[in-house]
Subunit: 893 residues, 2 copies
């Protein structure tokens, strides 16, 4: 659709724009910088952009490569460009009656702190200021502009401390006996200009440049000079921006929205950025400058009659005040949306009845608006479905699934932690899981506050509205479980000091006791006093539309990690295509089950253990039956017991006493067993399939539970359940050989006993570097692989998820890691091991099914990696299923 | 030197040997089995072997592949072979005057429990027994042989319970009124044969076979049958021996050493197996059978006059009793050594003045003898130097470096643990490191007994003669440190229950209190009551010789892991070529240093920390100076602080109180800091270079200590020190970039301050899977790699060294792992990562120096892997340096 760029000779250092025409285009950001390219684009599509020109980034590069010398042809090219601006505006630079004033702005490829930014009103001097006064009929306006110019130029170009000018301004106001700048009289401002210039002479030993061309070259030199100042250098280094990129300089004719009542200035969004409705949304001020809109001293007016009415404003809208200009702006609005095919955030100025467009850029919007706009634009035919999908950042979807803080509500933030699980929740503070359950059973809403959580706290997490921890990161136990349950979580809020003994916490001077109300926001990580109102999630029609579109495009399947019927149902509602990870150990923490589990662990011999296992068998079978029913023929991957047994035994004497009583064994045995099971590094200890190897009877019980459930459901359900038995933490083939035998023997046994056949597969987690390397061998036995990227990240990095919180923030700050590798998959390191495993596994077993479970399964960047690497599915917590569906579609596109 | 094997038709099932001739050779073990090949070899070099023949393993295979049918030609070939034996012996099978008797023995490639072993005296029946009586002139001898034959045949061939025969024998003795078998009269024995046969008939329903050929085929069938019995099958399965291998059967003419005083039987070693001296060493009995020598009822006589004199025996030697036979045996001795080029363990029988060789095999020997014999044989020109080197198992060398238990001493073993560090030591039991120091300063020898040790106990380990722990494996802290120091250690003696409170330990009923004497043997893992005498290590001339030869051949360098001057000197004496690993943290545990270290950790801010660091700087500089001096121009690789800070803080309230006092900070701060530093998985926590990243001032202090030491030593020493600074636990390039900068800046600073240049290199540990994968990038910054295979094994396997002890033994028992991967490098998994790192590292930096430090550096199999993988050096604990030198030579050969 684009006109090919016209041929430009190599030595063109200056690009013109304006009057419906431009030498440049939006794509030429590298040459013209972001701002220059954007101005060129607007001009080229015929929008009323004040004319101007851009000195290219090549000028900057040339300048530094040649001992701070400009290219030979530059002076002449600038002269010509300036002449063109003069022609286009009908004004002359430095003219005594009709002077041209310009702005000078830097413009690198990306905006960069530390660089000189803007000089406005350049071209003013004693002569042109008088002309401006006469032309505008507003002496105050002219000399205020002049005063501001001298101050800005002296600051950014001449490097004189702003304090000097502020002192003079204050003195002038005192002398006149006024408080506000705008109360100064024109003569005061005229005197101020003189004082400012005198100050420059004193500071610099040179007169302030009167000559406009001298001003212009001074400003241009300042922009190029600022490319090499220390702040810019440091910023470039931190952000990996090469020095050779250089910056461009934009020179543009000034327009004024403050030259009378036929002038105005405003900002607008082409659609509502808050809810996405197709309404022109913005505000303006008559006879004002851009900064007046921002300053908020005057009340801005609405653009449309509709908006005025809906806001109940008594100030007339632009549609009423300047109907023809409004129509022109409406046209521009549609033109921009058609051109950019996205909602735009624009700035405009009306000078003496003429509309000028100063800026357009893609508008920021809420998650709701992003969704609505994408769906609407695709329906309008402005973009394709796939473009609509690509527009939506998957993480935005997360916000749509949870209640959020009412944006209008007041809040008293007392601490900030990591935004560990989205959503906002308010409730009474409790410090134990049991208290959470008790109070929630009484109908109270509670927030569970813990230093950190353990599997023992699961029932409390379930009962609570949200959880706050003072230790641990984005992938700590609390964070992972909360995300899985869709509960808001703020994790690792280090300032919060919990005192369990007094059932209270402190943050600085604030003390919060059990039962007091707090609110947490899992999107920002904020902890607030009292109950801050929230708004519920709105899974509007657009949400369903976008999900349906995502399913059209994606090739990877999306499964869920779920153990409870609640989670499984939730995941199914969110469109999961099976369960990719049932963490069977979670099933043992509920109610009386933990007692049977502990009896198993504390058993003195195999017979005692077997009797405890029999109790667990019934419970486990029941749970898995329910999951098979809910999944209705979709695959369910059940992982064998994974954590070290130690996690199931409490560690205080009192708690151990309770366990001894409940399990009917002497306290001494509990104490001894707890100490035996204690490990220096439990993450690298006796866990995963290592437990099943040393206690094959546990593996057998679990296999039996799965297969008996499959047999039972298979008999009655229309769709046969698909059982996938998954062996965790395998490091060598022989482990899998031995356990697969136990599982298969059990399957045969159950089939014989029940007289039913059922479908099942035996696979393995690939979650240790050695497993990834040995994947070719493991594939001899494993029918599928599931990458456990949490453990794989821990071992590949030698980094414990639970302990990384103490230094990972500093690692990020120092630029050692870009993102937390537990949040977004480390594609270079961990990713290479996954690639190796995929290649070797499929090399042995063609087309072998492979997926990923664990936190990364719900992370968009990681999902993209999975697609590239050829995985068949991702499995994530229920509340991330929609996100994964979208991310998978984007990865496939 | 070998005559080519003569052509044998494919269908030869039987191989003859004897009379200076044989169809087979030693190399034909697969066809003839071990025993058959060996007999053929002896016969073929002209030794007086009783003639016989071998039914090949192919007969066995054929038998089982054809429904238990022998090959068609077998009968005929056996007939012919038997005829040849008859010719060669001048006897006839079943003959009434000059009968041939034979033995029938199985002979697989490797000896195999569960298989039928031997039937002697086959061919005896009523007729031949009478002939034997007449020929020998000893009726008792003949019928005793007959009785034994019937019993043996009935047992192993006919499968009749031995108990039946024992009962009959007891009854015969009772009847005669005697106690011993040999007191029975010839007629008693004759009757016994009849009774035995009657018993066989009753049990079997068939007569005992009288006909010698029937006996022979019965025995042959029994051998082949036993190949498939359950015990043999299980053994094969466990040891991966294929069923197709089959077994051979050896049939050989009997000779008798018990037919009169011109008969004898004996065993001998061609050299002294105890000290390796080139003396003919053995014993014999006149008129006796092999089993009489073993039974120990009669006192055996020496072979040589020299031996008789040195043992003060009054029984005449063989040299005196049968001088010409002795000379013949001397000739055989030299012939065998020349032929096999190794010390031989032989069996011989003299029958009526004629010498027969029944067996030769490579003789078992002590470590000392192995060394002496290898060196002597190479000096004698019997073998080459490289052969001598290849003969010595590197682990034998370990025994030579430590005191060993006096083999003649009596010992009361009360418990057994893992043989964690070689050597034997006796001392008084102590339970704390401090007590060990106090008593050792008083001149007492002590054995430190702990549940497990921690870095806090280092001074105690130093002070003790040896250490006993009740928990932990071969690579536990105690084991590693003890090996490093050359202290004997028995680890993980689980039966020993330590009670610190009462300062005692219990094993079953035995209670040992502090101050009681015990002895530990780190070679066997035994714990003994009282002081068992030991013999000191003898680093004789041969030791030096073999080490010098090893150095001629090896290509890899051998360095030592050492921090203390004692260790460094020891390592230098043992021939190390530099220090490959200085664990700087060990330097902080001594004496007052721990206080400064703790002050550093407990510092509230950077200034406080800096002041503590300054104290540590002086100490560290002093230590490193000493190491540079000792190493005298050899490289010294200093690793930056590695363990989590937490390890330096004690955890009981009382101990924390002491620290608070010593460090001059409130107890509360110690408590808080200890809790802050507590980690769930310290091995994967805030340690290694992660500490240096968060506290760059520690890295700077350590770099400064190293460089100031280098500058100081460089000024005075003839050889410039070579400092290698090593960054531990790197996982990503940026860590190395930032720390290298700190190190290099410090180096420049010190060079400027001191006005000296010194040589230094900055390298990194490769000890995380990610580091191995990223080796190409790391090599941009690292000048050398050192593989930390302890951590690399932990992370590749996801297996904590400290926790693996609880299930690794079971993993071995179940055949899941062959060897402890912390003892011998896992070449498939961890090894692949090392190969990747070598390839990528050198791909980036050609010829990059690479080595291995950590426990595997002293393990021969791992050293071989290092050689194959192209590493430049291995670094190990001082006491393993000689082992590594030898292993490196073997790897290079
Ligand atoms: Mg896992
Ligand atoms: Mg290490």
């Amino acid at each position: 659709a684009r006109v090919p760029l016209r041929y430009l000779p190599a030595m063109t250092w200056v690009y013109n724009f304006g009057a419906g025409n431009a030498d440049g285009r939006a794509e030429m950001k590298n040459l013209l910088g972001g701002k220059g390219a954007n101005l060129a684009e607007m001009a080229s599509i015929g929008l009323p952009v004040p004319p101007g020109f851009t000195l290219t980034t090549e000028v900057c590069t040339h300048y530094y490569q040649n001992g701070c010398q400009y290219p030979a042809q530059l002076k002449e090219q600038v002269s010509k460009a300036l002449a063109l601006v003069e022609t286009r505006t009908g004004r002359k630079f430095g003219d005594a009656t009709n002077p041209l004033l310009v702005s000078v702005r830097s413009g690198a490829r990306a905006s960069m702190p530390g660089m000189m930014d803007t000089v406005l009103n350049l071209g003013l001097n004693n002569t042109t200021a008088e002309a401006l006064a006469k032309q505008s009929g507003d002496r105050r306006f002219a000399f205020d502009s002049y005063r501001r110019f001298v101050q800005m130029y002296s600051d950014v170009v001449l490097g004189i401390e702003l304090g000097n000018f502020e002192k003079l301004l204050e003195r002038a106001k005192a002398k006149r006996g006024v408080k506000q700048d705008h109360e100064l009289l024109p003569e005061d401002l005229e005197q101020l200009v003189k004082d400012y210039k005198a100050c420059v002479y004193l500071e610099l030993g040179e007169e302030f440049p009167e000559e406009p061309h001298q001003q212009l070259w001074g400003a241009v030199g300042a922009v190029f000079g600022s490319w090499m100042n220390q702040r810019a250098k440091t910023y470039r280094k931190l952000h990996d921006i090469p020095e050779e990129w250089g910056t461009a300089v934009n020179v543009q004719a000034m327009v004024f929205g403050n030259m009378g009542n036929d002038c105005a200035t405003g900002v607008a969004f082409t659609r509502n950025p808050s809810n996405g409705a197709k309404d022109f949304y913005g505000e303006f001020l008559v006879n004002a400058q851009g900064e007046d809109v921002v300053a908020g001293i005057r009340t801005p007016q609405e653009l449309t009659i509709k908006a005025r009415k809906s806001h109940g404003s008594d100030l007339p809208s632009l549609e009423e005040v300047m109907p023809s200009i409004f129509q022109e702006l409406e046209t521009v609005r549609h033109q921009l949306e058609n051109h950019y095919t996205d909602m735009q955030d624009i700035e405009f100025t009306i000078q003496q009845g003429k509309l000028y467009m100063l800026q357009t850029r893609t508008g920021k919007r809420t998650a709701h608006a992003a969704l609505q706009i994408a769906v609407d634009m695709a329906s309008e035919g402005l973009i394709s479905k796939s473009q609509a999908l690509m527009r939506l950042k998957p993480d935005l979807i997360d916000q749509l699934l949870h209640p959020t803080l009412d944006p209008k509500a007041k809040k008293t933030v007392i601490a900030k932690g990591l935004p560990a699980s989205p959503g906002a929740a308010a409730g009474k503070v409790v410090f134990t899981a049991d208290e959470a359950v008790t109070r929630s059973e009484n109908g109270e809403k509670v927030i569970l506050v813990r230093v950190e959580t353990s599997p023992d706290d699961i029932h409390g997490l379930h009962a609570a509205e949200g959880v706050l921890t003072t230790r641990g990161g984005m992938t700590s136990h609390a964070a992972v479980v909360a995300r899985g349950m869709g509960r808001p979580c703020v994790a690792g809020a280090g300032e919060v000091k919990v005192n369990y003994a007094s059932a209270s916490f402190e943050v600085g001077d604030v003390v919060v006791k059990e039962g007091q109300l707090v609110t947490i926001d899992g999107v920002t990580g904020e902890v607030m006093l009292g109950e801050v109102p929230t708004v519920p999630p709105q899974l509007s029609g657009s949400f369903g539309t976008i999900m349906a579109w995502a399913d059209e495009f994606r090739t990877m399947q999306v499964r869920a990690n779920a153990e409870t019927p609640t989670d499984a149902r939730q995941a199914k509602e969110f469109g999961c295509e099976g369960i990719g990870l049932v963490r069977t150990e979670h099933m043992f923490f509920e109610g009386g089950r933990i007692v049977a589990m502990r009896q198993m662990i504390l058993a003195a011999d195999k017979a005692e253990r077997q009797s405890a296992l029999n109790k667990l068998l019934a419970m486990q079978r029941e749970d898995i039956t329910e999951l098979f029913k809910i999944m209705d023929g979709l695959p369910v991957t059940v992982r064998l017991l994974d954590p070290p047994l130690h996690e199931f035994i409490p560690h205080t004497e009192a708690e151990m006493g309770l366990v001894a009583k409940a399990a009917g064994v002497p306290l001494d045995r509990v104490r001894r067993r707890a100490s035996e099971l204690q490990e220096a590094n439990p993450m690298l200890g006796h866990r995963g399939c290592r437990l099943a190897i040393t206690y094959p009877e546990i593996c057998e019980m679990q296999a039996r539970a799965i297969f008996e459930a499959a047999a039972e459901v298979g008999r009655s359900a229309k769709k046969t359940p698909v059982a996938e038995v998954m062996v965790p933490l395998v490091s060598t083939l022989e482990e899998l050989v031995q356990l697969k035998k136990v599982i298969e023997d059990t399957a045969k046994q159950v089939q014989k006993e029940q007289g039913v056949n059922f479908r099942y597969h035996v696979g393995t987690m690939v979650e240790l570097p050695r497993a990834a390397l040995q994947a070719g061998k493991l594939a001899e036995q494993a029918e599928f692989f599931s990458f456990g990227t949490n453990d794989l990240t821990q071992t590949t990095y030698g980094l414990s998820r639970d302990d990384a919180g103490s230094f990972l923030p500093e690692y990020k700050a120092k630029g050692i890691v870009e993102t937390d590798p537990f949040v977004s998959l480390d594609q270079e390191g961990v990713g290479e091991l996954i690639k190796i495993a995929v290649e070797r596994g499929r090399g042995k077993r063609a087309g072998m099914k492979m997926g990923i479970c664990g936190e990364h399964g719900g992370d968009p960047a990681s999902i993209e990696f999975c697609e590239k690497t050829g995985l068949d599915y991702v499995s994530c917590s229920p509340f991330r299923v929609p996100i994964a569906r979208l991310a998978a579609a984007q990865a496939a596109l």
